[in-house]
Every structure is written in structure tokens, then in C-alpha cells.
């Protein structure tokens, strides 16, 4: 047989449930006030009815008063209700997704690369799954923590109130056409380029791409730098993806392009210092010696040209940033506006 609760017991339970969810420093005082107000309400109803309330009526009053969690929530500091405010949330959400997508892409590429000819190839998918699961926990935790600190500092120091309209980026003179096709071509081209290098560098069966009949192989320098080359390719594709999805501002994409080009410049310089990029392969034929030398000269020439282009582009971007920070206008059609393409 179940014990039927009295009105007093119902009220006690309700007030206690609310109290446990209240801020610790004020819980007794607020709970006492909630009890007092509810008792006044119950007395008022009883006076209207001319009798004591039944347990069902008491239960209905408490239910109407609201769930303890919601009632207690109203007494919490409204400014600290959420870690991330609605104003900051869209940027937080974009950052979280972008970092997760970039990390997973890079990790998958590294895993695919690691699978090539390693003795522990069978464990790679397991490691990949574990890393992705860990990232799914740690990346959101880290990003949330950073944004929560930002939110706290903003709440405390009100940085956003110190902005000046004059400091906003200028509107571009020539709007960028909203073409979907060109960036799509970039993405497809990037993937093809990545696959080509993957096959050419690491799959012996595809060695023909180097010298017609598999007589040449990548040098030890190229082989040693395969991971940075892959990462560079992945960053290049992610840049195209950002352009295609329009998730990043033109200014951010421009920064990414410059970063990728600068990294490529460093890699190219290392490759040039390492001497010949191609060496004799397993099916080497001495009659191909001249072809190998020519091919190495051409490759070196292309790398030198790429370095020169990269240096020029980096200098141009540096000059543009310097002018922007000194208050001038570069007059470029991108000009650092915040419009998403």
C-alpha cells in the first residue's frame, strides 16, 4: 500500500527540489521566500473554496508553478546562463566545425599514407578511429573553453564596446562574382593532384609516371619529405574547400593561401638543397642517364620558378598587410571585407 503524501509533504519536496538547484549563497533565503509565497497562494485558494485543498489540487498548484529546474534557473545570473552567448555562437559553431573538418581530413590523409607498406598496417584503421573519437571530444572541449574564456573577458572588459566604425574593413571596389564552378574545379583539381602524387611517390606499380618505364624513382630527400608534401596538399585542398563552401571570409582565405604558399616555399627550398629529385629506379637502364639528368634539371628549374613566384606573392601580401595596418588602403579588389563569398 502506498503512502499518500500530505499537502505539507508535497510542498516540502517541491521547495527542497528547487533549493538544491539554487545558487549556494542564496539558496536558503530564496527557498524560504518561494515557500512563503506558495503558502500564501494555497491559503488564498483555500479561502476561496471554503475548505482545505486536496492533495490533487495541491499537486496541480505546484505543477503550474513550474518544474523545479526552471524555477531555480530564473534565479541564476542571467548574464552567465550560457558559456557561449547567442552573439558569439555562430562564430563559435563555424570555428568548431572548421577545425574538426580540417583535423579529420589531415588525420585521414596521414593514415592513408601510413598504410603504405608498413608492417603494422592493420592497426592503422583502429588508431584512426581512436584518434577521431578522441578528437570528437577534445576539440569541442578545447574550442568551447577558448570561447568561454573569450566570453568571460568580453563580459568583464567589454572589448566589443570599444570598436570604432573607422576601423572596419573597406567595401571592395569590384564585387567578387559568385561563381560556384571555379572553386569546384579547384577542389577536383586539388584531389586529382593529391592522388597523382600519392600514387607517383608511394606506389611502386605507378613508378611509370616518373620515367616512362619505371626506370626512375624519387630520391631519398623526396621520400623523406612525403609527409610535409601531403600536408601541404591537404591544406591546399582545404583552402579550395573553404572557397567553395564560403565558410571563411575572403580575408581569411587570402591569409590561408599565403600560409600554404609560404610553407610550399620552405619545402621547395629543402628539396632544392637535397640535390637531384629523381634517381635510378629498379629497372634502371644506363642509356637513360641523359634523360634522368634533363628531367632533374627541368624539375629543379620548375622549383626555382615556383620559389620565385612564392617569394613575390609573400612579399606582396606582406606589403598589403603592412599598408593595411598603417591605415592605408591597398586598392585591391579583395581589400579585407567581411562578406562571405
Amino acid at each position: 500500500m502506498t503512502h499518500e503524501l500530505t499537502n505539507q509533504e508535497l510542498l516540502d519536496r517541491y521547495v527542497h527540489a528547487v533549493k538544491m538547484l539554487l545558487p549556494a549563497d542564496k539558496m536558503d533565503d530564496i527557498a524560504a521566500e518561494i515557500r512563503s509565497n506558495l503558502q500564501s497562494l494555497v491559503e488564498d485558494r483555500a479561502t476561496q473554496l471554503g475548505r482545505e485543498l486536496s492533495a490533487v489540487e495541491m499537486s496541480a498548484i505546484l505543477k503550474q508553478h513550474g518544474h523545479p529546474m526552471l524555477v531555480a534557473g530564473r534565479y541564476r545570473d542571467q548574464t552567465m546562463r550560457g558559456l557561449i552567448s547567442p552573439e558569439l555562437f555562430p562564430f563559435y559553431w563555424f570555428t568548431l566545425r572548421a577545425i574538426l573538418a580540417l583535423w579529420v581530413t589531415i588525420r585521414v590523409i596521414v593514415a592513408v599514407f601510413t598504410l603504405q607498406g608498413t608492417a603494422t598496417a592493420s592497426s592503422v584503421p583502429l588508431l584512426l578511429g581512436r584518434d577521431i573519437l578522441l578528437a570528437a571530444f577534445f576539440i569541442p572541449a578545447g574550442v568551447t573553453l577558448i570561447f568561454a574564456v573569450w566570453e568571460y573577458l568580453e563580459h568583464k572588459f567589454r572589448y566589443s564596446e570599444r570598436w570604432k566604425p573607422e576601423s572596419l574593413a573597406p567595401v571592395p571596389r569590384i564585387p567578387q562574382p559568385h561563381s560556384q564552378q571555379r572553386p569546384m574545379v579547384h577542389v577536383v583539381g586539388g584531389v586529382v593532384w593529391l592522388v597523382f602524387w600519392a600514387l607517383a611517390l608511394f606506389v611502386p606499380a605507378f613508378a611509370w609516371v616518373w620515367g616512362g618505364r619505371g626506370v626512375f624513382s624519387p630520391s631519398d630527400t623526396v621520400y623523406a619529405m612525403r609527409l610535409p608534401l601531403w600536408l601541404l596538399a591537404a591544406f591546399g585542398i582545404s583552402q579550395s574547400w573553404l572557397k567553395y563552401t564560403r565558410f571563411a571570409t575572403a580575408e581569411w582565405r587570402r591569409f590561408l593561401v599565403t600560409a600554404v604558399v609560404a610553407a610550399g616555399l620552405v619545402l621547395a627550398l629543402f628539396l632544392l638543397r637535397g640535390g637531384d629529385l629523381l634517381v635510378a629506379g629498379p629497372r634502371w637502364d644506363p642509356s637513360q642517364a641523359r634523360s634522368l639528368a634533363t628531367l632533374n634539371q627541368m624539375t629543379a628549374g620548375v622549383l626555382v620558378l615556383a620559389c620565385a613566384f612564392a617569394v613575390l606573392l609573400c612579399l606582396h601580401e606582406l606589403r598589403r598587410f603592412a599598408r593595411r595596418f598603417s591605415g592605408g588602403q591597398s586598392g585591391d579588389k579583395f581589400n579585407g571585407h567581411k562578406v562571405m563569398y
Binding site: 530564496i30 521566500e33 512563503s36 509565497n37 500564501s40 524555477v71 530564473r74 534565479y75
Partner: protein, 118 residues
């Protein structure tokens, strides 16, 4: 018309008015439930879970004073407009009348124009 939208608009419209009504009513002393009842009788019904935390917030902003006192053999917390709250209430009332007057003018302008045409 979407009822959620209407409800949101109504709540937005009421939000500022509620603070004004509470401050105005608390020129006399009330405890929470009695204040909710008095406002309801004046035609301004406020959800208790909105009113009671609002009283706490206004008190923390030093616009209200409160104290516990026994009434009808029970301990109750009474609120009253503070000395700091009085000029704030006057200022808010002035602002309210100004907004009210402006809206009345806005509403009357098309009526006057129609009369002039006729």
C-alpha cells in the same frame, strides 16, 4: 498569424512595462504573492516565476529594499521602493509617457490625414 510570434512580440512589449509597474506598485510595501495579486487585479498579470526573480534583481540593483516580517502568523518577505529607486521610477515614468505620447502621435497622424482628405 503565427501564435508564437504574437506571444514573443507581446512579451517583448510587456517586458519594460513590468519593471515600471512593479516599481510603481512598490511605493507601498508588499510581499511577493500579494504584489502578484495586486498587479493582477490592476489588469497586469505576471507569471510568478517572472515576478519573484525580478524582485530579487531589482533589489540587487538597489532599487528595492526588503525585509522578513511576520504577518498572519507566517514569516513573509516584504519589498518596498528604496530611496535610490524613487528617482529611477520618476525617470522611467517620464520616459514611458514620452514613448506613449510619441506612439499616440504616430497613430493619430494617419487618422488626421484621412480626415483632412475627406
Amino acid at each position: 498569424m503565427n501564435s508564437d510570434l504574437l506571444e514573443n512580440l507581446r512579451l517583448e512589449l510587456r517586458r519594460g512595462g513590468l519593471v515600471l509597474a512593479v516599481l510603481a506598485k512598490l511605493r507601498s510595501e508588499y510581499h511577493g504573492y500579494a504584489l502578484a495579486k495586486a498587479l493582477k487585479e490592476s489588469g497586469l498579470e505576471i507569471d510568478e516565476n517572472t515576478l519573484y526573480p525580478l524582485l530579487r534583481r531589482l533589489e540587487s540593483q538597489k532599487l528595492l529594499n526588503s525585509h522578513w516580517r511576520v504577518e498572519d502568523k507566517r514569516n513573509k518577505r516584504f519589498y518596498r521602493l528604496s530611496a535610490d529607486g524613487e528617482p529611477v521610477l520618476d525617470w522611467l515614468l517620464e520616459e514611458w509617457r514620452s514613448i506613449n505620447g510619441a506612439i499616440e502621435t504616430l497613430l493619430e497622424a494617419p487618422i488626421a490625414a484621412r480626415k483632412k482628405k475627406a
